[in-house]
């Protein structure tokens, strides 16, 4: 391996290769991160923009004592759980079908990954248009087929459901593709052997497909949780900034509002740190438990 070549020369080249990328990341990621930590301990807001001072953990306490934090936190957890359940179950289910001998498989696959190919903000704005109470396609369809009108955009849970449907549409193709790749690497012989032993389809799924799919799905699910938990675009654009009256938020969109509409910089910075901490703790545990990263690097 690389150690066979002169160690020092190799090392210097490695730094040369990585330095440009790491410099950009340090500039745009590391430096603002540190800056954000400092702001989170300060009283910076619109009134104290230049004359801010450090105030310790006060912002963190304010966030954690705020009832709306806990409300939006629970909602974000619900949002993430529901999305992931739908993404993974629909994705794996469709992948199982696409893995069978069917004519026109690649045609279906192409159409089914379409939502993934669309720019996210277009997806969000288009669905918002489709949920428009008067002229949107979805209320019209519901009225025509079932004779009911659902208050999509005017109630908290209606808007939540609208965001959820949009994000399910957006997210299942990714899981489908990952699952499909995993399924194709499972040798047919395993199923043939199980068939000879008289295993039912469910048993085959439970004892061959699921365990062998797990190492492939675990990193995808970890990423999926992180992306969904932090999915600003869909929630913000579909609900038009948290409508009705700031009830349709998840944690990130609420922080954005406090930061960029109310300019409570210190509070928003501390809030962001808490979100980051939640995700970091979750991911570490999840990765450790499923050993997801082992496969990745």
């Amino acid at each position: 391996m690389a150690s066979g070549v002169g160690e020092i020369k190799v090392n210097r080249l490695a730094y040369l290769y990585t330095l440009p990328a790491l410099t950009v990341l340090a500039l745009v990621v590391l430096y603002p991160f540190v800056y954000n930590v400092v702001i989170s301990f300060s009283n910076m807001n619109l009134a104290h923009f230049r004359d801010w001072r450090l105030i310790g953990f006060q912002n963190y306490l304010t966030v954690l004592k705020d009832r709306s934090f806990w409300y939006f936190f629970l909602k974000t957890v619900l949002w993430t759980a529901l999305n992931l359940i739908f993404h993974v179950s629909i994705g794996v289910f469709l992948a199982l079908l696409l893995n069978k001998d069917l004519k026109g498989k690649s045609f279906y696959r192409t159409i089914l990954i379409l939502p993934w190919a669309m720019p996210q903000y277009i997806t969000a704005l288009t669905w918002r248009g489709m949920f428009n109470s008067e002229y949107g396609a979805i209320p019209l369809l519901f009225e025509r087929w079932f004779g009911i009108s659902i208050p999509w955009m005017t109630t908290e849970w209606g808007a939540f459901t609208a965001c959820l449907i949009t994000n399910i549409w957006l997210g299942f193709p990714f899981m489908m593709i990952i699952a499909l790749g995993g399924l194709q690497s499972i040798p047919d012989e395993l199923y043939e052997a199980a068939e000879i032993d008289g295993a039912s389809p469910w048993l085959k799924f439970r004892h061959i497909t699921m365990p062998l799919l797990k190492p492939v799905m675990a990193p995808a699910v970890t990423l999926g949780v992180i992306w969904t938990f932090n999915n600003f675009n869909v929630v913000w654009l579909v609900s038009n900034g948290g409508e009705p009256s700031d009830t349709t938020h998840i944690l990130v969109s609420w922080v954005y509002k406090t930061g960029f509409t109310y300019f409570r910089f210190g509070y928003a910075a501390a809030f962001s740190m808490i979100i980051f901490a939640i995700l970091l703790i979750f991911s570490w545990n999840f990765i450790k438990r499923t050993r997801a990263v082992e496969a990745v690097y």
């Binding site: 990585t18 954000n36 190919a117 704005l125 428009n132």
Partner: protein
């Protein structure tokens, strides 16, 4: 005995029905936005659900190009996305190579660091950037936008490139080394050409990151003349009742090239995404 991938006739019918239903679900929003874009001006607010509207016309497209600054937004977006693509492909192809081939101090820390950046909520980096820009009065500038987009695309791009380099046999490089090829020459003349598919995917991803990004642009760009496509299209949406047709026509044009490229390249994308995970 049936082959594992074979389905019974009834199973096949069920599979086709389910696949068709989901295909319809995938396709419907696309058809809907296309349909709205074809409506003539006076029928924009119709309650019709026909996919090809009555008196279908391309007049919203014409209006988009002649009466709205759509071409300018498009030029801005292409400019920003192209630079971001070049920058991130250059940086990710070299960094990915080092992570794949060399063992050096800080390697694993850097790789874990790359994953960690995916957990940052947008506001955590956006807020300091925003405050810094206010302080140095550097609003309305593409350089900030370009660096921010490249940094967003890089972690994933580096991982992707590293995963692909891992699949290129090391013996090729050994052979070149024995023939007297320099270290840089090995990378430039042997490895990089072999990694062409991964470079294409990385380029596509970086381009899409910049082409589709809304939030950072919304915070950094205030000047209407510097608007990128997402900012421009959002202005139509804020008055959806009047400019729904314009938004839809714009959405179709913006998505079309990305969707075509994506579908065209999806086969490589799929193998690239699954390679890294399957080998464990």
């Amino acid at each position: 005995m049936r082959k594992p991938r074979e389905l019974s006739t009834s199973g096949k019918i069920a599979a086709y029905i389910i696949l068709s239903l989901f295909a319809l679900f995938s396709l419907y929003p696309v058809l809907n936005v296309f349909s709205v874009s074809l409506r003539p001006g006076d029928r924009l607010l119709s309650k019709s659900l026909a996919i090809i509207p009555e008196n279908a016309t391309l007049q919203t497209y014409q209006q988009l190009f002649t009466r709205e600054p759509f071409l300018r937004w498009m030029f801005n977006s292409i400019l920003v996305s192209a630079i971001v693509t070049v920058v991130s492909v250059a940086l990710a192809s070299t960094a990915g190579y080092a992570f794949s081939r060399y063992r050096f101090k800080g390697r694993s820390a850097a790789m874990v660091g790359l994953i960690t950046t995916q957990m940052f909520p947008v506001t955590m980096l956006l807020l300091p950037l925003f405050i810094m820009l206010i302080k140095i009065k550097a609003y309305d500038n593409y350089s900030g936008l370009i660096i921010a987009y490249a940094a967003t695309a890089l972690p994933f791009a580096i991982w992707q490139m590293k995963g692909y380099y891992d699949t290129i046999p090391y013996s090729l490089e050994e052979a070149a080394r024995i023939d007297g090829c320099s270290e840089v020459g090995i990378f430039w003349r042997i490895v990089l050409p072999l990694a062409a598919p991964a470079l294409v995917i990385t380029a596509l991803f970086s381009f899409m990151t910049a082409w589709s990004e809304y939030l950072v642009a919304a915070v950094l760009i205030q000047d209407q003349r510097l608007f990128t496509l997402p900012l421009g299209l959002k202005t139509f949406q804020s008055t959806m009742e009047v400019s729904w047709g314009l938004y839809s026509a714009g959405a179709v044009i913006v998505s079309l090239p990305v969707v075509v490229l994506f579908l065209f390249l999806s086969r490589w994308l799929i193998s690239g995404l699954t390679l890294g995970s399957v080998k464990g």
